[in-house]
Symmetry: C2
Subunit: 177 residues, 2 copies
Amino acid sequence: MKYCSNCAGKIRIGIPEEDTIPRHICDNCDIIFYQNPKLITGCLPVYQDQVLLCKRAIEPRKGYWTLPAGFMENSESAEEGALRETREEANAEVRISHLYTMTSIVHVNQVQLIYLAHMDKAEYAPSNESLEVALFSEQEIPWDELAFPTIKNALSFYFEDRKKNQFPLRELTFKGN
Amino acid sequence: MKYCSNCAGKIRIGIPEEDTIPRHICDNCDIIFYQNPKLITGCLPVYQDQVLLCKRAIEPRKGYWTLPAGFMENSESAEEGALRETREEANAEVRISHLYTMTSIVHVNQVQLIYLAHMDKAEYAPSNESLEVALFSEQEIPWDELAFPTIKNALSFYFEDRKKNQFPLRELTFKGN
């Protein structure tokens, strides 16, 4: 960020009064531009004894398998975002059960929410964002071809928790790569 | 947003290819500036049979009581942010138990996380952000002087759940004022 998005004047980096963190400041407009973590929201869709994964059509990690998830948008709830991403990436309709994993991914300034969700029908299809969409049983999960550690975690928790049929919220923090 | 923060050129509003939402676009830099919800993170600090509230020293809702909470910063986890806010606003040290309320506040593009937390000592003090900080028993809560509906909700849930000594995550969505 070099220029003010309101007046096109030069941005100064400085610590505002009663703050402790350097911010982007426009002295002309008297605006402080804060930068904050972004939310990723998505689902772990379950159909009978299988889970739904998407093969990424876009970078990063193109060609690797992931759960349907993406950046939460303004004017939606976290759940609505998770349902939207599941439609966009997997062309699937799901019923959300509850928040299942929340991961602070500190080194990329993201917080990822994954909801446990259920599919009433095995209906899904590829999309602009997914080369392939498929249901996998526990034995079929492509563990070495998963896109992100957070996805591996969510799936590991799921198959572990399924043995007891109890799916408590998992709160996690990832730092560094 | 009128100008590109990278080149100071004029911003265009348009729907990018394979997108459905109007975005701020700089054609010169080929950058899309996404706007996404922000995370609020904070604590519901408990000491014996009392909870800790802060009287806001800053707008909005200056002079009203709230839980210590604020915008999550880059380079911290959601829990670290909740502990930082509790230090900044109440000068209090707490031990986080677990995520207790998650509220999508759709009309202001925020997601608020409140962690249930415990204080080992009744040590706290006002700050730049809080005119007063005090412990309240259930009977003493200033229900008509609480800053936000989300705070009222979190406290109501807490006193209700305390009867059973079970504090499950509450997932909520607020739309409109």
